[in-house]
Amino acid sequence: MVKVLKTGLFSTIQDLGRHGYQDYGVPYSGVMDMYSASVANVLLGNDEYAAVLEITMTGPTLEFGCDTSICVSGANISPKINDTLIKLNKPISVKNGDIISFGNLVWGFRAYLAVLGGFKTENVMNSYSMYQGVTKQSMLFKNDTLLIDVPLKDFARKHATIKIRETHFTTEYIEVFRGPEFEKLSKGQQDSLFEQGFTISKENNRMAYQLEEPLMNDLEPIITSSVLPGTVQLTPSGKLIILMRDCQTTGGYPRVLQLKETSINILSQKFTGNPIRFMSSTNSE
């Protein structure tokens, strides 16, 4: 069991998401940065589907109620055990009564805390991912207790290491494919999508990231159609909206670009004011 002493800005339990329920209008949800979350799980020897804690910008303070192992990956929010800084991307033993807290944000935006065996909070529609209206709880609150397995034996790969892609946190390039309505844009609009740089606006969350710079737009709305995480929509006022993991299943704005899946992970580590550039991707690697 893990007790929440302080919540931080916004922390949720997430796994790889809720699949197969989109025709009921249920979003996928799941960890925003699948790369970093899987690093944390792999290093602990967890299943890739194990639920982790997704921490946004400022971290929670947690008290562990049993001996186990943890691993923190993704953003560097200066994680500590009992006030001593711990390493990222390394399995670490915790003892009953240990306090995990976080400090300054050094890089990235979302950190992932994995525990041995994964968090065992409410599972709805085959997923632990918190989402309002689907799970009872949509985020962590003070005094919550989060269930975890009490390990009989510590299976964590204590000496496991992994080389983290440094560019994951530094690159401005977001790789994209043409979206279903890309061809409806004029040559000029198409070019400026790739030539112009963009800035992430303060409207950014698990549902979508809006971009600051508008794109001149004269496209009509489309008949409501399916969208995916990573779909870039163009609104009538020219705002570009990049849909993220908690996005709706359908939308009526033209879908001009589609992010490569690894680029959704990269974007998840960016926040208000960060610059990005779209770069054309091809299917063949």
């Binding site: 209008g25 494919f177 279903p180 489309i222 008949i223 159609s225 990573g230 299943t249 899946e261 299917n283």
Partner: protein, 243 residues
């Protein structure tokens, strides 16, 4: 009827199939039949099939490297003689209370249109609506068939909270909010039913392709039904229709 379909890659793992851009029941049934064909033929590596008015999204398990092969396989299947002729659907009677307690925009719509509240309720509840698909919010049905006289522009400032069950008109569409949510549609009533329940094996009782009609109920009937729904014992009226 065979339509000219367009196949587009959508990201690295999906293909979007598009029908002509009109909202049409014949297209809906063609999409549903094609979806069933793909399902029953167990096309390799497909993990998800979902559709909207005039499109079918196919999500694969892995990167689609040979997009042309995947498209050819699908298109061959589309043109193969139909093994499925139609689909069975249901018509549901959805109780709606149009009382002033809930219908906070009904007076305004009536006065703008120069119609009585009663005639708006009558027009809204005599139509048989088609459920095209579920999207936007968990359990939100996209309905076709709203009477033209009831078309009403969305509110210029959306409300921050619309009550669960609210029956509303937005532009040329009508719908029911399955949960409390912000929204810009005009509220004309409320239904006591549960349109989405994540704990049930079938989270939505209505399926795409089904029909629904709204049955006006009094405030007292509304409260009675609501009580039965909450106790899990309400028997909703429906009949089977063969497509």
């Amino acid at each position: 009827m065979i339509y000219k379909l367009t196949y587009k890659p959508f990201g690295e793992r999906s293909i979007l199939i598009e029908w002509p851009s009109v909202i049409d029941e014949n297209i809906l049934s063609d999409i549903v039949i094609f979806k069933e064909k793909i399902k029953s033929n167990h096309v390799k590596n497909i993990v998800e099939l979902r559709f909207a008015y005039n499109s079918l999204l196919i999500v694969y398990n892995d990167t689609v490297v040979l997009i042309e092969d995947a498209v050819n396989e699908l298109d061959k299947l589309y043109h193969r003689k139909k093994s499925i002729t139609g689909f069975t659907s249901k018509q549901w009677k959805i109780p709606v209370c149009y009382d002033d307690t809930f219908a906070i925009d009904l007076v305004e719509i009536a006065s703008k249109k120069g119609m009585s509240k009663e005639s708006i309720i009558k027009l809204h509840s005599k139509t048989v609506y088609t459920v095209y698909f579920i999207g936007f919010l968990p359990g939100f049905m996209y309905l076709g068939g709203l009477n033209e006289k009831l078309y009403t522009p969305r509110k210029s400032t959306p409300r921050l909270r619309i009550l669960k069950g609210a029956v509303a008109i937005g532009g040329e569409q009508t719908g029911i909010y399955p949960s409390d949510s912000p929204g810009g549609w005009n509220i004309i009533g409320n239904s006591p039913l549960e349109f989405f329940n994540p704990k049930k094996e079938l989270p939505c009782f209505v399926n795409a392709g089904d029909k629904i009609v709204f049955k006006p109920v009094s405030l007292k009937e509304y409260n009675d039904i609501k009580m039965l729904v909450e106790a899990g014992v309400y028997q909703l009226e429906s009949e089977t229709i063969d497509g």
